[in-house]
Amino acid sequence: MLRIKNLESGYGRLKVLKKVTMHIGAGEIVTIIGANGAGKTSLLRTVSGLIRVRSGEILFDMRDVGNLPPEKIVFRGCSLVPEGRQLFGPMTVRENILLGAYPRFRKKDGDGVRDDIERIYAIFPRLRERERQLAGTLSGGEQQMLAIARALMARPKLIMMDEPSMGLAPLVIKDIFSIITRLREEGNTVLLVEQNAKAALAIADRGYVLETGRIIMEGTAEDLLSNRDVQRAYLGRDLDAEEKM
């Protein structure tokens, strides 16, 4: 579905991504884990067309989408749930959801959009309850659900999520992650960027570890979970303390 080869990008003179090569197959949940500043968000922003590709290629459904404008990339079926949700606070929940259907407005697909809203309300009953409420008044978890719902309205083939667990309480994180699992069961493909590596690897099929813009490890979620470097650096296990016990 998505195939990235030797991707390099950055900000100004700063090169953030260095020869990143990775792929996601249809129906997979793939996670990218790494510390702050490793380049995870830059990677999603580059694939979304928000940062220029300096070199390398991004093939989405076998077609090069590198340096297409962001809206074209959404039209192709690749949607981003951005870090920090980026909702329109003064607008209602329903309005925010409808904005996600923007790529379909010209297609006069009113019935389809209404059906999709119903489907989304089935996944997120909480959003139906709060339909008329202003997005800014929602709790953190509800805002994250809304951000995901908005992305789904574009009927993406690939949905990319940037730190969906950020700032949420553990119980709420559990909800969000079970929603991601459900999205996959319904045939979606998910690229998940997370600092909460433990939660991400628990639901992912495969993962990549990004360190200072380079991929230093790839493997099945199982392999990464049992890798001691990953455990120490990203899963917060204090192996020294455990061994002394």
């Binding site: 195939r3 080869k5 030797n6 260095k18 020869k19 090569t21 990775m22 792929h23 390398g56 990549y208 360190e211 380079r214 991929i215 230093i216 490890m217 790839e218 493997g219 392999d223 049992s226 890798n227 001691r228 470097d229 192996l239 061994e243």
Partner: protein, 432 residues
């Protein structure tokens, strides 16, 4: 039958994408964690970021057995020792050995790859698998053991030696698949006959053989004598152990597990790639090893890559049987022996001349090694007892060093052939 169909039958484009991802992450890791590789890359002015395609592999330096020895024992490990859960070694017990390590994930990968080999060779969870490789530093026994357990078969860790007992076990435990060196399989077949046990009294169906070169003629002989289907498998401890490649039941070459190993075949003199399908030295780069990654390891094994695809449906490249070595290493009873190891020991003894000859022969099915040493005049004229003592001492030291029994014979000075001033050190009379 496949063990991991989604991997073994991956289409070429997906495979190459995966290989590039794994090559790049392996290079990033070795550059970061193994000073040996960093120095070598820096000296050549190349960094992992210069590798953007599989073809760029050719720009990287080779790694040789000598590099492994110079970094004895742990210099090439890419993880701290606390993450290493297993250590194996090959060739001898001294500084000449090469030491390799495995993380928990490496052991899991290893088990899986051997499970592929076993499945391709006909083994299923319903089989009783007898492992007749020596358990120890040698990777053969443990690799096959893990693979067979992974498949879910019943594993008998019979280890090597005591052939009559092997056969008793084979008969009583109803072994259905035997794992050993091909020469040991022949010895077992001959012993079977001597013991007067008909093949029909056994339950054997499959044999998976490796750790030494063998031929199709030998395969036919083993199959006929044991009533089994025999397949070849290949591996070496420096890159993993068994599990690098193995034959399927079509027996048209060994399927290389290309999602874990990048292979090249080069001319051993020029080190340039040979034309497709031509014989040369196999060079292997590991793509998933954590503890002991290898970049462009020169295996010294001669083989060729086979064109076309196999009827079994696996998409990985196939290699022909290993036809020989590019160095002087001998494989005796599955054990790697270098003439230099023997020479090294002979030099420890006073009263022997630095002239020696190693004669390897095959009696029945088993390899036999005789080391002929020219005795110094001083001891040759002395009484027999001293000579005998000397021979015994040398034999003991050689057995210690090599891990196999070796016959030693003292001969008179200047009786060993010297051709053009250069002694012929090794006479290999084995016919495979």
């Amino acid at each position: 039958m496949y063990w991991e169909p989604e991997k073994e039958c991956l289409d070429r484009e997906d495979l190459e994408q995966l290989q590039l991802e794994r090559l790049q992450s392996t290079l990033n890791r070795v550059y970061e964690h193994v000073p040996f590789y960093r120095k070598k890359f820096d000296a050549m002015g190349i960094s992992p970021e210069d590798v953007g395609s599989l073809a760029d592999l050719a720009r990287l330096p080779f790694t040789t057995k000598a590099d492994l020895r110079e970094n004895y024992p742990y210099g090439l490990f890419a993880v701290p020792m606390r993450e290493v859960v297993r250590i194996h070694a090959s060739s001898g017990t001294t500084g000449a050995a090469t030491v390799v390590g495995y993380t928990r994930n490496d052991i899991r990968t290893w088990s899986n790859l051997v499970a592929r080999v076993l499945t391709a060779g006909g083994v299923t969870k319903d089989d009783v698998v007898q492992i007749a490789f020596g358990y120890g530093l040698f990777t053969g026994a443990f690799g096959l053991h893990y693979g067979a357990e992974r498949v879910g078969a019943s594993v008998i860790p019979a280890s090597s030696g005591n052939t009559a007992r092997q056969i008793q076990i084979m008969k009583d435990f109803k072994t259905t698949a035997i794992v050993s060196t091909p020469s040991y399989a022949l010895l077992m077949a001959d012993t079977l006959r001597e013991m007067g046990i008909p093949v029909s009294a056994l339950s054997l169906r499959y044999g998976l053989f490796g750790a030494e070169p063998w031929s199709d003629a030998m395969r036919k002989e083993i199959e006929g004598k044991l009533g089994i289907v025999a397949t070849d498998n290949y591996g070496l401890s420096e890159v993993l152990g068994p599990g690098v490649s193995g034959e399927c039941l079509e027996r048209q070459g060994l399927h290389i597990h290309e999602d874990h190993f990048l292979v090249e075949v080069v001319d051993p003199e020029t080190l340039r790639p040979v034309a497709p399908g031509e014989a040369g030295e196999l060079v292997i780069t590991t793509l998933t090893k954590e503890a002991f990654p290898m970049i462009r390891y020169r295996t010294r094994d001669l083989t060729r890559l086979l064109p076309g695809t196999c009827r079994c449906g696996r998409t990985g490249l196939r290699m022909g049987r290993v036809s020989g070595r590019t160095d002087d290493m001998l494989i005796i009873k599955g054990v790697n022996v270098f003439p230099s190891q023997i020479e090294h020991i002979l030099f420890e003894f006073e009263g022997t001349e630095p002239h020696y000859q190693i004669v390897v022969d095959r009696k029945g099915a088993m390899d036999e090694v005789t080391v002929m040493v020219e005795a110094a005049e001083s001891i040759f004229f002395d009484q027999m007892r001293r000579q005998k003592e000397m021979v015994e001492k040398i034999q003991k030291r050689l057995a210690q060093e090599l891990g196999i029994a070796v016959d030693v014979r003292l001969v008179e000075r200047k009786t060993l052939g010297r051709s053009e001033g250069k002694a012929k050190r090794v006479v290999d009379r084995r016919k495979l």
